[in-house]
């Protein structure tokens, strides 16, 4: 049922027009302005050239920020997948009422403000926080561990905050798998692990790829969580852009690193997509 451009009616176009107009006005136009701005050679304007890009790509500090941001996304995505898949699996295997409860817990983070959630993590991870208090009460540590303002802290907090983005697509993918397939596999002599590896996992790949994409994109651009949990010592791209634009008023450089960031993210996203296509797991018809 592949739709072609021919199938689009004028009604479809008219119905889509308001959103399209908004999209052009508030997304495409600023993006074009951003692109133009990034080619200005100095903040006062005037000359155009590639100097901002040359500055960024020639600067080890800037490249380091970009690299650590992309790497942060990978770590968060991996952790979210590792923790999220079992939750989605549990949801799939549970009776009706339990599914509702699990779904509520999965969606709960989305119902609170990201600022509130992030401050909760500040309280949990702080020197006198819940984790340190529990560990010292158990006698496992003498002095409080440094959890807040560490990359590990950022990864854990981001993983929790982005969990619904991973779990929901995987639940959708798992629910589309015919339960008879697992039965067929086990009758043919496969144990639970083989059934999971050979049947369930490949068939849930579309959900995994979608979940990873969403989580990755959300994690690397999560300005608030990165800044509050990471503190001043760790610099990631969103904060870097903010500093250049707001504090240093260097708009052309801020624009240039935004564009570089955008391209870098697109590259990572295409790699994800290609991986998804390479694996032969497709959702059931």
């Amino acid at each position: 049922m592949a739709a072609t451009l021919r199938d689009v009616t004028t009604y479809d176009l008219k119905l889509a027009a308001p959103l399209a107009a908004g999209f052009v006005l508030f997304f495409v136009t600023p993006l074009v302005i951003l692109l133009a701005l990034s080619f200005q050679t100095d903040p006062q304007g005037g000359h155009y050239g590639l100097s901002q890009y040359v500055n960024f790509l020639g600067d080890r500090f800037s490249l380091g920020v970009l690299g650590s941001t992309l790497w942060l996304g990978v770590k968060v995505t991996a952790l979210t997948l590792l923790l999220g898949y079992p939750v989605a699996w549990l949801h799939q295997r549970s009776p009706g009422w339990a599914r509702g409860v699990i779904m509520l817990f999965v969606l709960l983070p989305l119902l609170t403000s990201v600022v509130v959630r992030t401050f909760a993590w500040v309280v949990i991870l702080g020197r006198q926080g819940i984790v340190n208090a529990s560990l010292s009460w158990l006698g496992l540590i003498d002095t409080p561990l440094k959890l807040l303002y560490t990359e590990g802290g950022v990864v854990v907090a981001l993983a929790q905050v982005q969990m619904p983005l991973m779990v929901l697509p995987i639940i959708t993918a798992l629910s589309r798998i015919d339960p008879n397939l697992a039965d067929a596999s086990s009758v043919l002599g496969a144990g639970h692990w083989r059934t999971f590896r050979k049947v369930i996992l490949p068939l849930s790949l579309p959900g995994i790829v979608a979940g990873c994409l969403l989580t990755y994109a959300a994690a690397i651009t999560a300005f608030i969580t990165q800044s509050l949990i990471g503190g001043g010592q760790m610099l990631f791209m969103p904060m870097y852009i903010y500093q250049q634009a707001s504090t240093l008023q260097n708009w052309p450089f801020a624009a240039a690193i935004s564009i570089v960031f955008l391209v870098a993210v697109l590259v990572v996203v295409s790699i994800f997509n290609a991986l998804g296509r390479l694996s032969r797991g497709y959702a059931n018809a």
Partner: protein, 372 residues
């Protein structure tokens, strides 16, 4: 197990399957109630019944997807109670085939061999051999979705048989096929089952399918085993009113048992007339209220004569159905009776309104049960 399959399935004799007092309880309801079936090696047994009769539950218990509340499952004399499905040596063909959509046809067929640690080369040759057996040897590299329903079913059958299971379970395997293809596949499955000699359980709600394919049919109703007999016996000598009405069609006539012995009985019908019946089922004594079951082909219509002490009626409608003619007759107590006769014997339809006399074509065809 693998070495046995290399010898070819024809050399293998089917394993026996014993279901011993199987009971399955869901909360307070009994899905299966004390069902005992002793199935011979190489036999094809159909589990027949309306939906909710417990036949699918029984299948899931044999496969090991469900642990029965009570009773034992023995395959080849060995108890398999407590064994998980992957260690029971059964094969299943599901109603929707349940082929793995992300694997090729050949990979699907080789899946069970792979799970048993068979080396790649043997997997390939065995899968090819099984596909050749179901006449799909040339389609190994396709994906299941590129195949028609009938082809997918053959692949499912090849996949189930590739691991040389002791028992083959077929779960409503023909329900998704259209009518012409269904008959072809029924013949094909029967052929392969004969060829491999594998003990086979066919779950179905389709009585024609059960009667035509099975060596013996187990009729189930509300979790209970109603009758376990060869198809002709199920049809000709039903053990219960349920079996009589579920398998084939039956005219139910009220009456009073006049006398009976071990081989026959006589019933005076409420609508008039006396019929000679088979021996009544259950503990019935003369004078008891009974229900007489007469199949449409057990009766003939005689327009010439009516009498006071015969089963009389009036023709409501006549339908020519190819080889047979069916008349619907309104009888004395107001109920309708269907009569089916060969066209050779009755070329002309009887006009509506014709008064007729109904008589059994032979004595002792009717079954008698206690009145419901």
């Amino acid at each position: 197990m693998v070495s046995a399959s290399r010898n070819g399935p024809a050399s293998q004799r089917g394993q026996t399957l014993l279901l011993d007092g199987i009971t399955q309880r869901y909360g307070t309801s009994l899905a299966v109630n004390e069902v005992t079936l002793d199935i011979r090696g190489g036999e094809l047994v159909a589990l027949l019944g309306p939906s909710g009769c417990g036949k699918t539950t029984l299948l899931r218990i044999i496969a090991g997807f469900l642990a029965q509340t009570k009773g034992h499952v023995m395959i080849g004399g060995q108890s398999v109670d407590g064994l998980p499905p992957n260690r029971r040596s059964v094969g299943i063909v599901f109603q929707n085939y349940a082929l793995f959509p992300h694997m090729t046809v050949a990979e699907n067929v080789a899946y069970g061999l792979d799970a048993r640690g068979v080396d790649r080369a043997t997997q390939r040759s065995e899968a090819q051999r099984m596909l050749d057996m179901v006449k799909l040897g040339h389609l190994g590299e396709r994906t299941p979705r590129q195949l028609s329903g009938g082809q997918q079913q053959r692949v499912a059958l090849a996949r189930a048989l590739a691991v040389n299971p002791s028992i083959l379970l077929l779960d409503e395997p023909f329900a998704a096929l259209d009518k012409n293809l269904r008959l072809d596949m029924q013949i094909e499955v029967k052929r392969i089952q004969r060829l491999s000699g594998i003990t086979t359980i066919l779950v179905t709600h389709d009585q024609e399918e059960a009667l035509s394919m099975a060596d013996r049919v187990a009729v189930l109703s509300q979790g209970r085993l109603e009758q376990f007999s060869p198809p002709t016996e199920i049809y000709d000598a039903p053990d219960s009113l349920f079996v009589n009405t579920f398998v084939g069609s039956a005219n139910l006539l009220g009456g009073v048992l006049v006398d009976c012995d071990r081989t026959a009985g006589r019933v005076r019908l409420d609508a008039g007339g006396m019929v000679e019946t088979r021996a009544p089922k259950g503990d019935l004594r003369p004078g008891a209220r009974v229900t007489v079951c007469l199949r449409p082909e057990h009766l003939s219509v005689d327009p010439a004569a009516t009498d006071v002490d015969t089963l009389n009626g009036v023709v409501e409608m006549g339908l020519p159905l190819g080889a047979t003619v069916v008349h619907e007759i309104r009888i004395g107590d107001g109920s309708a009776v269907k009569v089916s006769e060969p066209r050779i014997q009755r070329a002309e339809l009887l006009a509506p309104g014709t008064p007729v006399r109904l008589a059994p074509v032979a004595p002792r065809l009717a079954s008698v049960f206690a009145a419901a």
